[in-house]
């Protein structure tokens, strides 16, 4: 009798300890959940004036060589701060080689661009400005132009205490981008305790997302990205990749065809999908994963066929749609000195078409 009691107590005690430690540790480090507050970099504290300036710069087409393209041309507010076409159009109607990613919640991600070549938002912000296919403006030209616009000179002096220079332009645009947040989705409300916030299919989809769908092995954490690079085989044909992806940055053969895991909040608002915009709908993307990606020598070990049923695929789509909620809409604000069009600003000194 005594032995039985001791065993019972021992087992119960062990399990109670286990459960208590689970609660205490709560360290399920790949779990999703609500977004934390935005953390602003020490060297770029957020101010209202800086965000206002960044917003103007974001919408100002004078940051492109021919005055036709702004950040907002490809990262359109009305398209989920992305673009509805596979490849956006830059200056002189040139087409880019990658789908414009949404800037929604980019505040929470360290690597930027599909290949992660920018390690912070401030470095990303002026990348497209210099890209010859996108806005095609050298930093010298950009600084010269902005310095010739009195309204900007005044604001830069107020915000940064200096004339417009590359670093302060980057900081202002990054500050504005950090305000484009989507964090009030049915999923967020569900996680916060409102169990009626998501439909039954979406809840089933969430369980698939964290289980049979294998989604959360990469789309992990509150921002639904591991900020790492994975090879899905997209763009692989005839023995080679149309786009080397991360390999362009690292030159590591293992990174050939690998691209940054994308954030998923408001994903339903930003078709088409993947780095080349090759999948038009969320169901198309799920079908790709269900097939286990595109076989290639570098295919990520996390990619395996999923054997999802049609109902399970529908549930996953329902969950991804539940990750979408209201996000800041915007339109071009009044810009300083709009009468100073590009033909009236200093001539290009750094090239451009």
């Amino acid at each position: 009798m005594r032995k039985a009691v001791l065993i019972t107590l021992a087992v119960t005690g062990l399990l109670c300890t286990t459960c208590a430690l689970c609660i205490y540790a709560n360290g399920r480090f790949l779990a999703n959940g609500n977004l934390p507050p935005v953390v602003f970099p020490n060297d770029n504290p957020q101010t209202d004036a800086k965000v206002r300036l960044g917003r103007q710069l974001y919408f100002d087409k004078r940051l492109s060589s021919d005055g036709t393209i702004s950040c907002a041309s490809c990262h359109r507010p009305d398209a989920g701060w992305a673009d509805l076409t596979s490849f956006s159009e830059g200056v002189a109607h040139q087409k880019g080689g990658r789908n414009a990613p949404s800037i929604i919640n980019s505040a929470f991600t360290i690597p930027q661009f599909w290949d992660g070549r920018a390690t912070r938002l401030e470095k990303q912000a002026v990348g497209p400005v210099q890209n010859p296919v996108e806005m095609d403006l050298t930093m010298a030209d950009m600084e010269a132009r902005l310095s010739a616009i009195p309204g900007y000179v005044e604001q830069f002096a107020e915000v940064f205490g200096s004339k417009p220079i590359e670093k302060s332009v980057a900081k202002a645009i990054a500050s504005f981008e950090r305000t484009i947040i989507c964090d009030d989705t049915p999923y967020d409300r569900y996680v916060a305790g409102d169990k009626s916030a998501m439909s039954a299919p979406a809840v089933r989809g969430m369980n698939l997302f964290n289980g049979k769908g294998h989604c959360s092995s990469c789309h992990s954490g509150p921002n639904f990205t591991d900020s790492r690079y994975h090879n899905l085989g997209v763009g692989y044909a005839a023995g080679k990749f149309a786009d080397p992806g991360r390999h362009n940055v690292t030159k590591d053969p293992k990174d050939m065809g690998a691209f940054l895991t994308q954030r998923l909040r408001c994903i339903a608002k930003t078709p088409p999908y993947l780095h080349d915009g090759s999948e038009k709908t969320l169901m198309d993307v799920i079908d790709l994963y269900n097939r286990g990606g595109v076989p290639n020598p570098n295919l990520d070990r996390l990619m395996v066929p999923l054997n999802l049923t049609q109902r399970e695929k529908n549930d996953l789509v329902a969950f991804l749609e539940a990750l979408s909620g209201p996000f800041p809409m915007d339109k071009e604000p009044p810009l300083p000195n709009p009468e100073l069009t590009v033909d009236k600003l200093p001539r290009l000194i750094g090239g451009g078409k």
């Binding site: 009798m1 032995k3 039985a4 009691v5 065993i7 019972t8 087992v11 119960t12 062990l14 399990l15 109670c16 300890t17 286990t18 459960c19 430690l21 689970c22 609660i23 540790a25 709560n26 360290g27 399920r28 480090f29 790949l30 779990a31 999703n32 369980n207 698939l208 964290n210 289980g211 049979k212 294998h214 959360s216 092995s217 992990s220 591991d226 790492r228 994975h230 286990g292 076989p295 020598p297 295919l299 990520d300 070990r301 996390l302 990619m303 395996v304 066929p305 054997n307 049923t309 109902r311 399970e312």
Partner: protein, 399 residues
């Protein structure tokens, strides 16, 4: 009876505690660590899916995310339990030493612990506490069933080392992760006193895999030494497998494998009770795991060659054995299975036939309603055939 009540209370208390404090998707060990559901690694718990196989191959680390992994000290408590309870009907005929069962029973308890000790050092332990059999409680030996450490990716994925007590890689279809309660006859058939092939073994094993679907394993383990600790490690084995297509052959891709197992054992044949010298035995086998849509066909063929002394026979004993199991997964929450096991022993006259059918319905990832019927017949020379009819319906759960 009071002891039975104690266990029932303990399990009930645990279930209650677990149900009240864990998230909706209560999940064991690894799943708890990551915040995943069981179905991340299991097509149908306890069977692994392709992703689960890769996770295990990679030393309990997510492929490609090794640098982010947390050790057991940085993770939730790395403990989990598995048990089942339900109605068992087990009727024997002409089988001396086997007692009939016809009652509700608790069916044992596994206490598991697993995780990473270091960046590339994982461990896996299973402890089964001793449970004295009584009405309503199936007996269980208290034993540290598994306790192994695995050193992963030593230079590359082609070299991993596991040491300790573990399920050897020559078992193509894990008995620990089988969908059925009924054992694999091909793995369990052994000379008197010998270890079943599916038994855990103590020793060391090296494994490796590459991206082209090839994997291998080789090991040195104690084997069937009949508890004689002075016998030294007696068994060596190898396994090689190749997967064609995507996946690991669990739910996608087609896997074929070959095993070889060479050992020396004393056994405990009728006379003399224990051999004074060790005698040799070997197993050679082929296996396949074939997938088509939602069907999986698992095939195992084994040929055994045992020294006559191990059986107290007049000549060496050669036998063949195998299994063919078809499982069907119409949905994540449901799996059906049917299996045929056989052992042909020729002149030895111990042929075994077993049919098993059943299914599992998952209330959620880690709680399954298990139904199974199994019919077993074994030839007995100069005796009526020994038969067993087994039926169970039970709730199998892990948390």
């Amino acid at each position: 009876m009071r002891r039975v009540n104690g266990w029932i209370l303990a399990i009930a208390a645990v279930a209650g505690i677990a149900g009240s404090v864990l998230p909706v998707q209560a999940v064991p060990v690894f799943a708890r660590k990551y915040g995943f559901n069981c179905t991340m690694c299991h097509s149908n718990f306890p069977r692994l899916n392709d992703f689960g196989v890769r996770y295990r191959q990679n030393g309990y680390r997510l492929p490609g995310r090794e640098n982010e992994e947390k050790t057991v000290l940085e993770s939730p408590a790395p403990f989990a339990m598995r048990t089942s309870a339900g109605y068992n009907y087990d009727k024997f005929k002409s089988t001396p030493g086997s007692a009939n069962v016809n009652e509700f029973q608790l069916n044992g308890l596994d206490v598991l612990s697993a995780g990473l000790i270091g960046p590339n050092i994982g461990y896996f332990m299973v402890y089964t506490p001793q449970i004295n059999g009584s009405r309503g409680v199936a007996a269980q030996s208290g034993v540290l069933e598994m306790a192994s450490v695995v050193f992963s990716s030593i230079g590359s994925s082609m070299l991993n080392v596991r040491a300790g007590r573990f399920e050897p890689a020559y078992v193509a279809f894990s008995a620990k992760r089988s969908l059925t309660v009924s054992p694999y006859e091909a793995y369990d058939f052994a000379f008197p006193g010998g270890s079943a092939l599916s038994d855990m073994q103590t020793g060391v094993e090296i494994t490796g895999y590459n991206r082209r679907g090839f994997s291998y394993a080789a090991g040195l383990v104690n084997g069937s030494a009949s508890g004689n600790s002075d016998d030294g490690a007696a068994d060596v084995y190898f396994r090689a497998a190749k997967v064609f297509g995507p996946g690991e052959g669990q739910t996608t891709g087609q896997r074929i494998g070959v095993i070889g197992h060479f050992g020396r054992g004393r056994g405990t044949p009728g006379s003399p009770p224990t051999l004074s010298t060790r005698e040799s035995y070997s197993r050679f086998g082929l296996d396949a795991s074939l997938n088509c849509d939602r069907f999986n066909l698992a095939l195992q063929y084994l040929r055994g060659d045992d020294d006559k002394a191990l059986w107290d026979a007049v000549s060496d004993v050669t036998f063949s054995s195998g299994l063919a199991e078809l499982s069907y997964l119409p949905a994540t929450s449901l799996v059906g299975f049917a299996r045929y096991d056989w052992v042909n022993t020729g002149d030895l006259g111990q042929n075994v036939r077993r049919w098993t059918v059943g299914g599992r319905y998952y209330f959620q990832d880690n709680i399954a309603l298990h139904l199974e019927y199994s019919d077993r017949t074994q030839n007995q020379l100069s005796l009526p055939n020994a038969t067993e009819r087994f039926f169970t319906t039970r709730v199998d759960f892990a948390f």
